[in-house]
Every structure is written in structure tokens, then in C-alpha cells.
Amino acid sequence: MTAARPKPGKPDARRAALYGSQAAGAGPQGMAARILEFGEELRGEGVAVGTSELLDAFAVLELVSWTDKADFREGLAATLAKSPENRKTFELVFERFFFRAAELAALTEGVREQGEPGDSGLDGDPREGDPGEGGDADGEGELDMDLIRQLVAEALRDGDEARMRDLARLAIAAFGQAGDGSGVIGVDVQRIRRALGLKAEAQPELPKEDPRSEGLPREEIRKFEAMLRRELERGQIERTRALPAARPLNELDRALPSGPLQDLAAVHKVVMQLKRRLKTQGQENRGQKRRTAVDVRKTMRASLETGGVPVVLKYKPHRPRRPEIYVLCDVSTSVTSASVFFLSVMHALHDSFRKMRSFVFIERISEVTGVFEKERDFRKVSEAIAKDAGVADISGYTDYGRVWSEFAALVEDDLHPRATVIVLGDARTNGRDPKAAVFGQIAAKAGRTFWLNPEPRLYWNYGDSVISSYEQYCDAHECWTTEQLEEFVKALTRPIR
């Protein structure tokens, strides 16, 4: 692993491509400059890297050799990434930054893969060793897709990484011959994967000796995809003789996980973190509120030290605000992906408040407070809601108007100014009457009303979204990343002034 040193005189455009905004003009050479660029890139991803952090990183590099990749990375991480989330970002940026740097070095040094058309055929790719079947295959004309399928499946079953890497190249070559390339790496990876028929589920229709008939290990498939991605990226760099622009990590990488069940663990982690923060929320507002009550008992006790004279006053601590909460959650198909997340939020909020009642609705409303009290396992909760909660779902279309009327009838007498109502939904009425006035009545009775919309603000009020007619009665927040959710929770627990 080396930090790249572009040779003097190479076009700046290339460096600009590598380092994005950083690189106008000939930058300084050497390790120090690279570390600074790396820090800059981390800042671009939202990691707070201050000058003092960078100074620490340099101090560390005096003690740690940069030739040892693990030590180098851990040393930098210890000084630059100071929370688990930042650490995750750090790993991604580190891989990307130094992988690109190595590619750039290879480009400037004129190191090529074997069999690369139009090159003098310098051999010895320093990173990969023997390109094997993949390298040779370019010249051989037709590639047998079925054979590749078989080989890949076997390699995945055995977890043989070296063969997987070779086969990744081979698959890309075969795929390229078929002329299916879209030019977008992410899309190509998925197409190749589909073409190879790689699934974690068992495929009993295939012949017995095919390893795919019993399903492939999920972990290995993920690894293979990563290899495909890497090889495609390398191919692109070689083809265009330039590095793709360093773009920010996809915003969606940090978006709320939704959809398939295997993401549930991730959702849950996010929610657990939120819950912990929520519990300690009250403390942060301590400085803002000067009005406190004297704790007589503690003050008397303290006065013993000063001979019975109460020199030091002791105060009663502020208790964090624990509001009474009503949550309404849309579980219709237009928000299926978001509802998984919605439900987990409800689940987490459930025991953080003094009193909480949860409802789910599609066309009609039904209360699920009991389900949450009984079940702790999230998967079971979602099953129970789908099965037993009896969400009246005749057409499958959300009817907000009806939901408001029913909700009002259900809780009318319980609502009071210290209650908080939270609605989670996309406010898409499918053309039905939104009955905003009824919602207004509910909002007027409750102390505070919030609306969480899983759609980006950009899409609000387009099509059948009627959020604006509700927004006049409540605080509407967009809520499709964890940060937004956290912002919301802060707003929720902030004391009323």
C-alpha cells in the first residue's frame, strides 16, 4: 500500500478527478499532502476532522510505519474517526481513497494488466499476481456462460477467494462480449449477478450436482459482488485512462434501511442508539432553564459541614420530559418500505414515554398498543400486526379522512394539552377526501402534533400528496435518513417554552 505520488508534469485534470474539489493547481508532493487530502475527503463526508486531529495523525505516523497497512489504518482511525458512525465512513473513504491512489500510481507508472488491448504488454500487476483465466480469456473468442455459472457457484460454495477474483474478471469479460454493459457500475454488477443466477435461496429446479440447487452462502455472494464492483471500476479506469470523479458516498448509503427483512437488524441498531440518546436527552437542556426548586433535605444535609449554616444550596434535578404520546402509522403499500422502519420506531419509542398508544391504519384504524406490550421481537411484532391487528384493509388504499374520524372517536376524551400526536405517513390520499378539518380538531385538542413524511420534501404536494392541507395544523418533518429522525426526536423531547 502506498500513497500515490503523481509524477510532476502529469495533467492536473487527472488529479482533479481523483481528489475532487481539492485539486486545482499543482498540489504539494509527498505523504503529508496525501494525508491532508485524505482528511479533506473525510470532511467532505461529514466527519469532523479538525486541525488538531490532523496534527495528531501526523504524530501517530511518526511512531507507526506506513508500510504496515493494518497499523497505518488503525493509527489514522484512532485520531481521525471518533465515533462508530465516523469509523464506518472512515473505512469506506479509506478504501476508496487509497484504492484510487494505487490505481493512479499504476497509471502513471505505466503498469498494465496482461492482455490489455492496445498496450505493449508490460506484465506484472503488482497487486493481483496472476490474472489467470480472466486475463487469457479475452483472446479466446466465445465464452461459455453456463460453464462460468457452474464455476462461480462452486467457488462461492467453497469460499475460494482467489478463484472468485479470477472468475469475477471472466464473468465481466463474458458479460462484455454479450454486449449488455450499461456503463453504470452498480447496474452492471446486478446484471452480472442475475445472469449468473446467484441466489442465497435454494433453487431445487436445478440439477442436483449444481451447488446452486441448495443455495449459496449469502456472505460469499456479497464478497463476489464487491469483487465485481472493484474489477469493473478498474476496467473503467483503464479504458478511459482517467479516474472517475470522487463523488460523495451515496446519500442513500446512510439513508434509513428499509425493505427486505435482513435489513431489520440495521434498523434495530439505529433505533437502539436513538433510544439510548433519548433517555439522556433531558440533561442537555439543563443549562437553558434557570428556574429550579431547592431540595431542602439535601441542603440541610450539606449545611452540616458548615456548622448548620446553609451555605450551599442544593437543587432538585430536572427530570427529562416524558410526554404522553399517540402514534399513528400508515402501513399501506404506497409506504411499504417505509412502514418497516415506521414500525420499528414505534417499537422503540414504546417504553421511553410515560404513556403511549400506537395505532396502525390503511383504510381504517386499529390499535396495536397491546401487540407491542406482548412482543419484544421486532419480526414477530410486524407479523402480529399484519395478521392479528386486523387492520381493515379492503381496498389497500389509505383513506386519511376516514382514519381521522375514527381516531377522533377513539381517543377524543383522552386527548389533552399535554399529549403529543405523531403521524407517520406520506399523506397520499388516493384522491379521497383528506378531511383536514377533522385533523385540525385533533391537533387543536392535543398539545403538539407532528407529521413524519418518509418522502423527500421535493415530492411533497405532487400528485395526490395533500401534506400541505395537514401541514397548517402540525409540524411536518421529512424523515428518510437517520439524521432526520434524530432531529425529530430532539424536537419531540425539547421542553415547551
Partner: protein, 296 residues
């Protein structure tokens, strides 16, 4: 004489010798902290050995360990120093008759009347120490701010006395369960170390170190089960300390294998919530061999 490590591998083997098996980055960060004189902020789930690391470091570096356990409402008087009012009052009473206020004032704000608390103790100690500030996330933000001076300059200002500077450089560890976001200012002054549950082989090594008499088969099965249980969604996943406790329990019982009976009767060592017990029994217990022990 306190030890001063020369390289990362020195630290790694030193920690090993004290019975603490450091992970990949633990030894590296400890080494850096010792060399650069920076505090380490250790974060991670409960029971992965954050506090143990401080103890092991103290043992390895042959320094005394000064520990400050944080809790909500911890203040300067408990953490830093406090004037000994009673003694001061006695002094004033005995001298009140014949000496002026000026003289008494000089007298009663002397070191004699100072009660040193852990932080001041670590700073003023004549031999180098390891200072452990445990569970810093339990305190208020104001307390963090108070720590800043200590962590960056290793000094404490006492208005009546002046500044107490450290003569020897303490190795400082702060631990946090991440129950609240710490301030940027505090993080800025620290090296960051994230400790997670160890990988399977690593934990196996730890268990074997603590219970060498436990049969290999059982030890391996034990860590596999613990890893499986941690993957479940529990209120409190089992910590390393609990794996070790479980290993000791099995050793005492002379278990040759973990079958359903053994598991059922001993699982309360690692799972400590009523609801968790049910989940574990259902998800993990069912997969085990019933009845007579079978090798493997």
C-alpha cells in the same frame, strides 16, 4: 520502575503477560497513548473489557491505577478536590482568640486542608500512574468541560492555591458506553478506540486463558453459542466476562459437552433478563443435542 514500551508488539506481549488478550488495534492505540501522552477514549458495548484494559495497562506499565467512577451528578468536590471544612473550622476556633484574619486565612487554605480526590491525586502523584475515568458518559456535560484542562495540559487550577501541574505524565483512559454523545472538545483531545465483541477465535483464546482445564470441545462450543446468542436481539447480550463465568461454571460441573440439559440449567449465567431467557431458550436451546452427551 515503570516500564516504557518500545514498540507495538512490546505492548501486545506485555498485555498478554498480564492475562489480557488485546485485539488488533488495542495494543496499537495503547502504545500511541503512552508515546504521545494523549488520553484514550474507549467506547464499546458493556462487558467487552474496557475497564479491564485499564487494569491490564496499569499492571503491565507497573503503575498504580487511580480510578474515578463517574455517575450522574458527580461534581468537582467528588472528582477533583474539596476543602476540609471541619478541619478548617476547628483551626479557626482554636486560633480565633489571638490571631488576625489574614494569618488564619493563609493557614486554612493550605494543602493540609485539602482533600484530594482521584483526579487531583493522579495529577499530583510523584510516581506516574494510570488514570481511569470510568463511564464518562454518565456524567453531565459540565463535568466534561471541567476535564478539558486536565486532559490537555495535565494540570488543575485551584483558585486559592494556584495551579497544580503534573510532574509525571499519567496514562489516561476514559471509557464510555456511548449512552450519550460526548462533546467534540473532549473527543478532540483523545485517541479513539472502539472495542467490540471479539471474533470467535479471539474469544476462544480468552476463554482458554482463563479456564485452561476446560476441554477444547466444550470451550469451542461455548464461544460459538455465545456468538449465536449475541446475534439475537436481547436486552443485554452476554459480555466476555459472562462467557468466562459460564466456562468456569461448566468446569465446576465437569461438563464434557453442552447439551440441552446443561444449557438449560446454566444459561442464567450468561442471560440475565426474564424475556431474554425465553428468547434464548427457544432460539438456541432447541438446536442442542438432547440428553446423553455426544462428542462434537
Amino acid at each position: 520502575m515503570p516500564v516504557s514500551p518500545a514498540s507495538v508488539s512490546d505492548v501486545a506481549s506485555g498485555l498478554r503477560a498480564t492475562g489480557y488478550l488485546p485485539g488488533e488495534s488495542t495494543a496499537l492505540v495503547s502504545f500511541l497513548a503512552e508515546q504521545l501522552g494523549k488520553p484514550i477514549l474507549v467506547e464499546g458495548p458493556a462487558g467487552v473489557g474496557k475497564t479491564e484494559l485499564a487494569k491490564a495497562l496499569a499492571k503491565y506499565l507497573e503503575r498504580p491505577l487511580v480510578r474515578l467512577q463517574c455517575y450522574e451528578g458527580l461534581d468537582e468536590a467528588k472528582a477533583l478536590y474539596e476543602w476540609n471544612y471541619r478541619k478548617q473550622l476547628l483551626r479557626i476556633q482554636t486560633e480565633a482568640t489571638d490571631s488576625g484574619w489574614e494569618k488564619v486565612q493563609d493557614d486554612i487554605f493550605g494543602e493540609e486542608f485539602l482533600l484530594t480526590r482521584p483526579l487531583l491525586q493522579a495529577i499530583s502523584s510523584t510516581e506516574p500512574v494510570v488514570l481511569l475515568i470510568d463511564e464518562i458518559d454518565k456524567t453531565d456535560q459540565e463535568f466534561e468541560a471541567m476535564l478539558l484542562e486536565l486532559l490537555s495540559d495535565f494540570q488543575v487550577s485551584i483558585p486559592e492555591l494556584g495551579t497544580v501541574e503534573s510532574t509525571t505524565h499519567p496514562v489516561v483512559l476514559l471509557t464510555s458506553n456511548n449512552s450519550r454523545e460526548l462533546t467534540e472538545a473532549l473527543k478532540r483531545r483523545c485517541l479513539y478506540l472502539w472495542l467490540d465483541y471479539p471474533a470467535l477465535e479471539h474469544e476462544l483464546e480468552i476463554v482458554k486463558l482463563h479456564t485452561p482445564e476446560l476441554p477444547d470441545v466444550v470451550a469451542r462450543k461455548l464461544v460459538e453459542l455465545v456468538a449465536l446468542i449475541r446475534d439475537l436481539d436481547l436486552k443485554k447480550p452476554p459480555s466476555i466476562a459472562e462467557s468466562i463465568d459460564w466456562a468456569r461454571t461448566l468446569l465446576l460441573l465437569g461438563a464434557q459437552d453442552i447439551d440441552q440439559e446443561t444449557f438449560r440449567s446454566t444459561m442464567s449465567v450468561i442471560v440475565k433478563h426474564r424475556t431474554d431467557l425465553d428468547i434464548v431458550l427457544e432460539r438456541v436451546g432447541g438446536k442442542l443435542v438432547v440428553g446423553q452427551p455426544v462428542a462434537g
